[in-house]
């Protein structure tokens, strides 16, 4: 039956309209991914009204491809301007932007785009392979286990960026504290809002991202003069891009690990790509032989998050189809659109309507290939942004940051938040506090609280006495102390472990 469904899906794929809308979707996604500050979410929300008039088999490819396009292209501004194109390309800038400053923008772009495209495609093959396993996997996880899935993400707070572990932890802690601003989800009580309406809904993520990453870079550029890339770097254009693509194959196992990791996080409802990117980055650093190079512009730091964030889509799509539960904000919007087109997600999507599910997965493959190819063609020219003099780049980018912060919710307060976090970000940048850690804390804080209280309510204070939870606890501990653990296993790694400890 599965073979029949697959053949039917391929048959669907011969529809010219479907291909056309897939292509159009990818292009729209790329455009939105390339404009810093408007992510795929905004793009989807804007496109959805138009999709109502289309037949489902035009609208669904359009929306699916749009997400793939935006996530793929979103890495470009992360690398070039230190401004993530979408919320899921943040981890890419930790190493992508330093590479750009070293004059390796082309190489970073090549690596990011190739790992993105391949990650997106491979995740769908993973999806094909484990369709029967998705339901049991999702059903096995309870709120208690989710607490430790989130905790595993929190353990990576200390290792993002170049500063010391202590500074990383403090930054992450501040991020967690900021996430508590606003109402508390289970009781509705408002915290730290000082009576301000604006703060009731919490500090919005997008202005924070624009503020702590984008503004400080532009401010520094303006204060120091020159261009983003340091003078004297030699650029080889297309050859740089090609080199970056080859890097993905040099680190093939890292790429595969990150893709699988992203895919699994995608399957788990309620976590999503914004966490997957950091987990992928963290594991890349923790398993690397030279963790001290991370954060200074190493290509592995680009490959890991970029392959993971595209891989999330395949996983999240599958969960959404099988259970009607979106695994990421993008799939949440897609789910709304599917419902309107009378595609009702549920277990039958894995049985009676398997062909439709497979068609959707094939669309993800197609869109990823289109998006990566188009971006690769554009990349050599885009990479030249690094050499635009600051006096011209700074006003343009600052204007776009401000407008991006505004249009998200049409609120001038968001622009004020952007400026405030710009100042915070500048201090953090200059004194070696890790900005990605702060963001990770901000993303995970309320999630952690939500699952913690659910687990307590459902299973009492001993909620963690479950096999899956205990395994996750062990993994978290191993992730924290991996340096020491490695030290125990023979002398070969001892030296690296030592450098790691001091570098944190």
């Amino acid at each position: 039956m599965a073979v029949e469904a697959f053949l039917q899906a391929l048959q669907n794929f011969r529809d010219l309209d479907l291909l056309l809308f897939m292509f159009v979707g990818s292009i729209i996604g790329i455009v939105f991914g390339l404009i810093p500050a408007i992510g795929s979410l905004t793009a989807m929300a804007l496109i959805i009204p138009f999709t109502f008039m289309m037949p489902p088999m035009n609208a669904i490819p359009l929306l699916l491809a749009l997400t793939s396009g935006a996530i793929t292209a979103g890495s470009i501004t992360s690398i070039l301007l230190n401004i993530p194109g979408t919320g899921v390309n943040v981890a890419t800038l930790i190493d992508g932007f330093p590479m750009n400053q070293k004059g390796q923008a082309g190489r970073a772009l090549g690596a990011a785009l190739v790992s993105s495209g391949m990650g997106g495609v491979f995740s769908v093959f993973l999806a094909f392979a484990i369709i029967p396993l998705v339901l049991p996997m999702v059903m096995a996880l309870r709120s208690a286990d989710m607490v430790f899935v989130i905790l595993l993400g929190i353990t990576f707070i200390g290792v993002l960026g170049t500063g010391s572990t202590l500074k990383g932890l403090i930054s992450g802690g501040i991020g967690l504290l900021i996430s508590f601003i606003g109402y508390q989800a289970s009781t509705g009580a408002s915290r730290f809002t000082f009576g301000a309406n604006y703060l009731y809904d919490g500090i919005p993520l997008l202005p924070v991202i624009l503020g702590i990453f984008g503004l400080p870079e532009m401010i520094t550029l303006a204060a120091k003069g020159g261009a983003i890339a340091k003078a004297g770097a030699n650029v080889k254009g297309v050859r740089d891009i090609f080199e970056g693509g080859k890097d993905v194959f040099r680190h093939f196992f890292l790429w595969m690990r990150s893709t699988i990791l992203g895919y699994i996080i995608g399957i788990v409802p309620g976590v999503g790509a914004s966490v997957a990117q950091f987990v992928a980055y963290g594991q890349a650093r923790q398993t690397s032989r030279h963790p001290q190079k991370f954060g200074t512009g190493t290509v592995e730091g680009v490959i890991a998050p970029e392959s993971a964030n595209n891989a999330v889509q395949g996983g999240a799509l599958l969960t959404m189809l099988a259970l009607g539960i979106p695994g990421s904000p993008d799939t949440a919007i897609l789910l709304g659109a599917l419902l309107l087109m009378n595609v009702i997600p549920g277990p039958q999507m894995m049985t009676a309507q398997l062909d439709l599910s497979l068609t959707l997965l094939l669309i993800v493959i197609g869109a990823n290939i289109i998006a990566a190819s188009v971006c690769l063609i554009l990349a050599p020219n885009l990479a030249k942004v690094a050499y635009i003099p600051g006096r011209i780049l700074v006003p343009l980018v600052i204007a776009i940051i401000f407008i991006g912060a505004y249009v998200h919710r049409e609120s001038l307060n968001d622009v004020v938040v952007t400026i405030a976090f710009g100042i915070v970000g500048l201090a953090m940048r200059n004194f070696g506090f890790s900005r990605p850690s702060l963001l990770l804390g901000l993303i995970l804080g309320t999630l952690f609280e939500h699952y913690l209280f659910l687990a307590l309510a459902a299973s009492g204070p001993l909620f963690f006495v479950r096999p899956i939870s205990l395994v996750l606890i062990v993994i978290s501990i191993a992730a924290i102390f991996q340096g020491q653990i490695r030290g125990l296993f023979g002398n070969r790694f001892r030296r690296q472990a030592k450098t790691y400890e001091t570098k944190g």
Partner: protein
Amino acid sequence: MKLKGSSYCYIGVMGIAAAVIILALPMESLKPKLLPLILGGIVFVLSAAGLWRDLFVQNNKPDGETKKDVDSEVADARLGGYLAIGVWIAGFFLAIYLVGFTIATLLFVLAYIKAHGAKWLTAIIFTIITLAVVYGVFEVVLKMSLYKGLFFAF
């Protein structure tokens, strides 16, 4: 025993953590205040440790951090540059508040590029490009209404 930039950061963070704890303590039920209290405490202790290390253990610092501090000293030397761009940004925001995004963007981009020694032509070209993107993408294609400014709100 000299206070450095990062020391001020640690002190600031300690202040924030203390404020969180003070604000959270009087909350009625346990649920909303549990995690802020725990985390506020942890962050306070961590930043106190950081301050301690800054003040008394200066010599044992890892290399990476020394490099960063040198970097920030270089930054201090260019304080004037930071102040200048700060004034530009503040001015831009004020302009947005008063006359709206479209005109403020026009003024900001044009003035900034011109003030940094470019020819009029270059300044005008880039202003037009920015405006085309701002106006074209946001207002025309996306049909979003950008903020019109205090002067034009009536």
